[in-house]
Symmetry: C2
Subunit: 311 residues, 2 copies
């Protein structure tokens, strides 16, 4: 099995959209630049959603325009892919205009979460994806798919494994090049993760699957480990765990990227990211937004001597 994982950096989208205070376009562009400098190759940078509903994502077009300009002047490496979330055809048209490299669509594994999150049934959400995917195909824009609340729902509790597998397969067959399986409220156990991915990979190639684990109850790294052991090699995470959990106020949301990097590096698994640089990013952002972010690695610092030699 490959000793390499791909990290999808979510702080500028899934992180930011759960922060109470919006962050300026200037800081977002600088954060994107710093993340790219640290080695991230896949950065979700914004969303084309209604600014009255998600004010934190306002200005996404401008952020993308400026970031792409930095790529043209080589301040950001050309290889870095920037992605934006799009909920519907209108959002997709905006994404196309922005010039962003990739888009992401999102569905829920339960009806209640779908209604609450995007105000329509799961089936209706898939109908909305059709014109998005048609446009993406026409414009040759890769589409990533998210599936939320795959391990537990804040409204329904229990989530059907079969439903998750069916919907993930549907997203893949519709044209998503990768499907990210989300523990949106941080309730999964490693055993549940291992079972879910073992069944998923029967239906679609494991390299098309990603794990998106929230650390609301501290189990994200254990769940990432379980997914990794099952063959998953792509993980979503957010600098410093930026973004809280709307279902458990005051709690962590996204797993902190630095902690994910620390775990994998200690296992000799390459992430391609410069961890000390990312810890610097944490300290820079914490100061800019005047908030202590939740990464334990960034708080404690790296041990003084390389762990790689200690195995």
């Amino acid at each position: 099995m490959s000793q390499k994982v791909k990290i999808v950096e979510m702080s500028l989208r899934d992180g930011l959209q759960n922060e109470k205070t919006p962050i300026s376009v200037e800081i977002r562009v600088e954060l994107a630049r710093r993340l790219a400098q640290a080695g991230f190759q896949y950065i979700e940078i914004g969303a084309f959603v209604r600014a009255d509903k998600v004010p934190q994502m306002a200005g996404s077009s401008e952020v993308i325009r400026k970031v792409l300009e930095l790529q043209r002047t080589k301040e950001i490496p050309k290889t870095v892919r920037f992605a934006a979330l799009v909920p519907n055809e209108y959002g997709m048209q905006e994404a196309i205009s922005s010039g962003v490299h990739e888009v992401a669509i999102f569905a829920s594994a339960t009806e209640s979460f779908s209604q609450s999150n995007i105000n329509c049934s799961i089936e209706e959400s898939f109908q909305r994806f059709e014109p998005v995917l048609a446009l993406a195909k026409k414009k040759k824009i890769p589409v990533r798919g998210y599936l939320s609340v795959c391990f537990g729902c804040p409204y329904e509790g229990k989530v059907s494994e079969k439903k998750v597998i069916d919907l993930a397969t549907q997203l893949y067959k519709m044209g998503c090049y990768e499907v990210s399986i989300g523990d949106t409220i941080g309730v999964a156990s490693p055993l549940q993760v291992q079972k879910m991915f073992s069944k998923l990979k029967v239906k679609l190639p494991v390299k098309k699957l990603a794990g998106h684990f929230h650390d609301t109850r501290g189990t994200a790294l254990a769940n990432i480990l379980a997914a990794y052991q099952t063959g998953v090699r792509v993980f979503d995470s957010s600098l410093g765990g930026l973004g809280g959990c709307p279902y458990a106020p005051g709690s962590s949301g996204n797993v902190a990227t630095e902690d994910v990097l620390f775990m994998f590096e200690g296992m000799g698994v390459s992430t391609g990211i410069n961890l000390p640089a990312d810890i610097e990013n944490n300290h820079w952002l914490s100061e800019k937004i005047q908030k202590q972010l939740s990464s334990k690695v960034s708080r404690a610092g790296l041990p003084k001597i390389s762990r790689k030699t200690s195995v």
Copy 2:
């Protein structure tokens, strides 16, 4: 393999001794009572060390006397075992006088940590254990052994796997009924843990091994999972992660018991502990000591619907 783990509750010793502010005997006794009520069967409750060096452990005799009295009056179940840490023969004599059920001894896996922590070489520390173990045998008091910095040392960095295995074996052969392998500074990776325990269990029975993981860099649960997968069934933890890390000020030390329980319960592994009651213990203690403890589960709360049904 057994679907059951044993949790050794460390908050009253390893937790407390790393807190800046000592906690009164009264609160310590009440915490012990509450932990026992929540279902813990093994509680490390104090240490017979020099009060000028570790002021937080002063009053251990009184705590033990009062807790044993509560056991006589059945306010604490008779089955609960209380243990105290002893560094030498003098401490052992005090432990015997106190009536505590079990004792624990501790050694380091590196010379630098041994010198810094207990001011003697590893060999000298083992010489000190001899009269302790002789007294224990005479009085039929079970002895647990700790081995510190098994996965990385704050002074030496790299730690020899062979040294860890030799010292753990030596502790076992000297008479320790269980040897707890410690990641004292929170630097282990799951792969390193898996390798270490795989080698250890060749030398001594895996059921005689315990895992003691600090969460300084967020990896404790992943490391516990890796140890569990290797066959380890005993884990040390501390309510709310009480006790910080002296090597990374402001950071977490012991892994939070509640988070460990949450992970195992989600996996269908029985801990014998009532998790909601332990979350209550966290909230009670946080208020008593006016400090937000670090357990993510206690902060976020349990999900509303049982996770067991969601697999």
